[in-house]
């Protein structure tokens, strides 16, 4: 069965309805009362609550609840001021000046000052991942007075507020950073968020307590931006790595929210009168990334042949398991709510294979039956292996010689970074606030897409201020990728989690579903 990209099933319609309910949060917000404990079963947690020391987003959950940055992202993926009161660029776009809000204090009681922002962001600047992108744009950060932070940029760039929405850019008190650097974590998070970390037990969970001195923004809540209500007195994260145990804990009422459930569990939580599913549509793209530098996959014509040979629907079905939980949308940026969602350059009939064209490109390529090494990580069996095994079967039928190499994630990360050790690897791509942050577009990211035209477009995108012009540039980049295929997207998958009846305000937005400070626990 082929699912058209613009057709979404009942579950996704339900997701939209849930989103509508979330959108009406102001209605319950007026009626809700503070109190109670919100208990959340989570599948994994980091060894430290400090988000700066790792680029694994799953390890940022604690900081996302307890900390805040200068900016936060709203439901349309736009950066909005959070700790910033206002911000402005100079005329040539090379200096960003941010004025901090008054009356903000850290959990330790110390007032927020510009020196805290400078210290936190200097540390962020020397960290891996998006921190490195920030370092590439920002030459220096200074604090001319207690309430003003100035960013001097290497060149005119509009992307700094967007970068400063990511969790590792949260602001910690300068005093708490004592001895910490980009790879050494702080001993405790001293932040400004609506909850403070009361207890962090690695491999067990986290307990948050409401921060009574928190000063919320007055704008309506929107994803991570706007007002933060802090409805629950206490929020508890309980680490439960096994998905069926998270589901059972929810069914028995031991937890109020069970995060990251397999889609197979939809019926169980839907049929129970005490629980309800929350479907986050358009969560992330499932992809395969090619080694564009070395080996057979460096041949553009071979990559084109692979794209046209793939039937994407069975690949998504194998991974997700239910056609209601995915679409074959071709945009790299999976959430249509983002201004960066694009279909530029997407060939007609993208969803179906075109074997004639695939054969033409294969004939034009220099491929002579060499073995292509396709890496997958054991820990990502559903997203990596199940997509790979289905795609490889199709490509073998087409005549390609491909070997899947499944390995632990530690080995996968090491091997895919070695230009001599892989030809392609399974991956996935969420929506980013700004396309300059998309990992695949980083020239040193595995895959190593360093085409000059792409580098020029990236440079232009980073320097252009006007949003409409930037969207046009990104569309050209999107088009280029659909001509060169440094990676191939099969489709977009939805994500499932579930809540107890009585939980209000649970978010179905792909922007953020961990804004637990805006969730009302059930009365017990």
């Amino acid at each position: 069965m082929r699912i058209p990209s613009n057709s979404k099933g009942a579950y996704l319609r339900e997701a939209c309805a849930t989103a509508l309910v979330i959108g009406m949060s102001a209605t319950f917000a007026a009626a809700a009362e503070r109190g109670g404990t919100l208990t959340v079963a989570i599948p994994q947690m980091g060894a430290s609550p400090d988000p700066v020391v790792t680029t694994f987003g799953t390890n940022w959950m604690t900081a996302a609840v307890a900390c805040e940055g200068l900016f936060a992202i709203d439901e349309s993926w736009s950066p909005q001021p959070m700790l910033a009161e206002r911000f402005s660029y100079n005329d040539d776009g090379t200096r960003l000046t941010v004025t901090l809000r008054d009356g903000i204090t850290f959990h330790s009681g110390a007032p927020l000052a510009a020196s805290d922002v400078v210290a936190s962001l200097e540390r962020f600047k020397s960290s891996a991942g998006i921190g490195a992108s920030f370092a590439g744009v920002v030459e220096s950060i200074s604090a001319p007075d207690d309430k003003t932070v100035v960013f001097d940029l290497a060149a005119a760039s509009p992307i700094v507020p967007g970068i400063l929405t990511v969790t590792p850019s949260v602001i910690l008190s300068e005093a708490s950073l004592n001895g910490a650097n980009a790879t050494t974590p702080v001993e405790a998070l001293d932040c400004t968020g609506p909850y403070k970390v009361a207890e962090f037990s690695p491999d067990q969970g986290v307990t948050f307590e409401r921060f009574d001195s928190y000063v919320s923004r007055s704008e309506p809540s929107s994803a991570e931006a706007g007002a933060k209500h802090a409805w629950a007195d206490t929020i508890e994260f309980r680490l439960q790595p096994e998905a069926s145990i998270r589901r059972d804990s929810l069914l028995t009422g031991e937890v109020d929210i069970a995060m990251e459930l397999p889609t197979d569990f939809y019926d169980a939580v839907e049929l129970s009168p005490e629980t309800q599913p929350v479907v986050i549509a358009n969560q992330q793209s499932l992809t395969v990334v090619f080694n564009t530098q070395k080996g057979p996959a460096a041949d553009e014509n071979l990559r084109r042949a692979i794209y046209y040979a793939l039937d994407k629907d069975p690949i998504m079905l194998a991974s997700v398991g239910n056609p209601e939980f995915y679409t074959l949308d071709p945009s790299w940026v999976p959430d249509p709510a983002s201004i960066w969602h694009s279909t530029a350059g997407v060939p007609d009939n993208h969803q179906s294979p075109n074997l004639e064209l695939a054969k033409e490109y294969l004939a034009k390529s220099n491929y002579n039956g060499e073995e292509l090494r396709w890496l997958t990580a054991t820990e990502q069996h559903q997203k990596h292996y199940l997509t790979a095994i289905t795609a490889v079967q199709q490509l073998r039928d087409f005549g390609l010689n491909i070997q899947i190499q499944e390995m632990p994630i530690a080995t996968y990360i090491q091997q895919r970074a070695d230009v001599d050790a892989m030809d392609m690897f399974s991956s996935f791509l969420p929506t980013y606030v700004d396309p300059t942050s998309i990992a695949y577009l980083n020239a040193s990211y595995p895959g190593f897409w360093t085409d000059q035209q792409k580098l020029d477009l990236m440079d232009e995108l980073a320097r252009t201020i006007d949003t409409d012009e930037r969207v046009a540039i990104f569309n050209r980049l999107h088009e280029l990728a659909y001509a060169q295929f440094p990676f191939i997207k099969y489709g977009t998958e939805a994500k499932l989690y579930a809540v107890r009846v009585g939980v209000e305000g649970a978010s179905a937005s792909p922007v953020s579903n961990i804004d637990f400070y805006n969730v009302v626990p059930p009365s017990k």
Binding site: S48, F56, A128, G129, D203, I245, A410, A439
Partner: protein
């Protein structure tokens, strides 16, 4: 007796050091980079290389081995690459959960085995005997994780007598601790109890056929004295061997149980440390398990010597 214990004690040293050296080499020779796991999948090659240098992972293997050996001898196990805490502080926290779990599971298994095995032997070929034998075959054949999920479904989801998952430390109250550990201990103990029951039954059947048991009965001793004082003591020797093996197995078998029930135990810590290439924690964990196993074996050997004095003179 002291000489016997001394000899056994000396045999412990290779039991501890051989696995440790193997783990050291395997971790460093197998692919997978701790720096990559610390920084995450968005880190660049340059950032990973810089962290490798900072962690001392770029030193030649021989240099790393000498440093490691010196640290082990001085009981300096280093700091976790992820937690940043000293390994000597981390391991006891997690080992306490595992030892508690394995001990409860072992006690449950022994109790079930002694009662069911003896009863089965005494009622040989009866329906009860056959039922027990069939149940033990089932118990041996089914893996722990399956038992665990069934127990959760029955006792937590359906009956709601016990929590689905999670761990409460003994400091929060012995009942709360017992409640949190009951299902994991049962899931871990069932398989071993089946194994021990079969051994107990078989051993009891052998002993019950011995002439000295017939003599004891012929002298008119009450049956509970014949069984309790004479038969069970002799029948216990092979069972003690199985108990020792089971204890070792349980320390390894806790991994799946700890993951399912979200228990912060040594097994889960080790598996996760291997996955993220946290070398010091893996080495510390293996050292802890080796020490526990060595201590267990020593205790078993001493129990042998107490039960059967002939052993200490061999």
């Amino acid at each position: 007796m002291l000489r016997y214990i001394g000899k056994r004690f000396l045999l412990i040293l290779p039991t501890i050091f051989v696995p440790l050296i193997m783990v050291f080499l395997l971790l460093r020779l197998s692919p997978g980079d701790p720096a990559g796991m610390i920084l995450g999948d968005q880190a660049t090659a340059e950032q990973i290389a810089a962290l490798r240098a900072e962690l001392g992972l770029n030193e030649p293997l021989g240099v790393q081995f000498v440093i490691w050996l010196k640290n082990i001898v001085t009981l300096d196990l280093g700091n976790s690459l992820f937690f940043r805490d000293p390994v000597v502080e981390i391991i006891p926290r997690y080992a306490g959960v595992t030892v508690g779990l394995a001990t409860i599971a072992l006690v449950l298994a022994i109790l079930i085995a002694v009662i069911a095995g003896s009863f089965s032997a005494l009622k040989r070929n009866s329906i009860v005997d056959r039922s027990i034998v069939t149940t033990t075959v089932l118990g041996i054949s089914v893996p722990e994780f399956w038992f665990a999920l069934i127990l959760v479904f029955v006792f937590a989801v359906t009956l709601r007598w016990l929590p689905v998952a999670g761990y409460t430390p003994p400091s929060a109250g012995i009942i709360a601790w017992g409640t949190s550990i009951a299902l994991p201990a049962l899931a871990l103990g069932i398989r071993q109890s089946a194994l021990m029951t079969r051994m107990m039954r078989s051993s009891m059947l052998d002993v019950l056929g011995e002439p000295y048991i017939t003599t004891a009965r012929a002298q008119g001793l009450p049956e509970h004295v014949v069984i309790g004082r004479y038969a069970m003591k002799t029948a216990a020797i092979p069972v003690v061997t199985v108990v020792g093996l089971s204890a070792g197995y349980m320390l390894g078998g806790t991994v799946a149980i700890e993951i399912i029930f979200a228990l912060p135990g040594l097994g889960r810590l080790l598996v996760e440390a291997v996955a993220r290439r946290d070398f010091p924690v893996v080495e510390g964990g293996v050292l802890a398990i080796s020490l526990i196993l060595a201590a267990l074996n020593l205790i078993i050997d001493i129990i042998y010597a107490i039960i059967d004095p002939r052993i200490r003179y061999k």
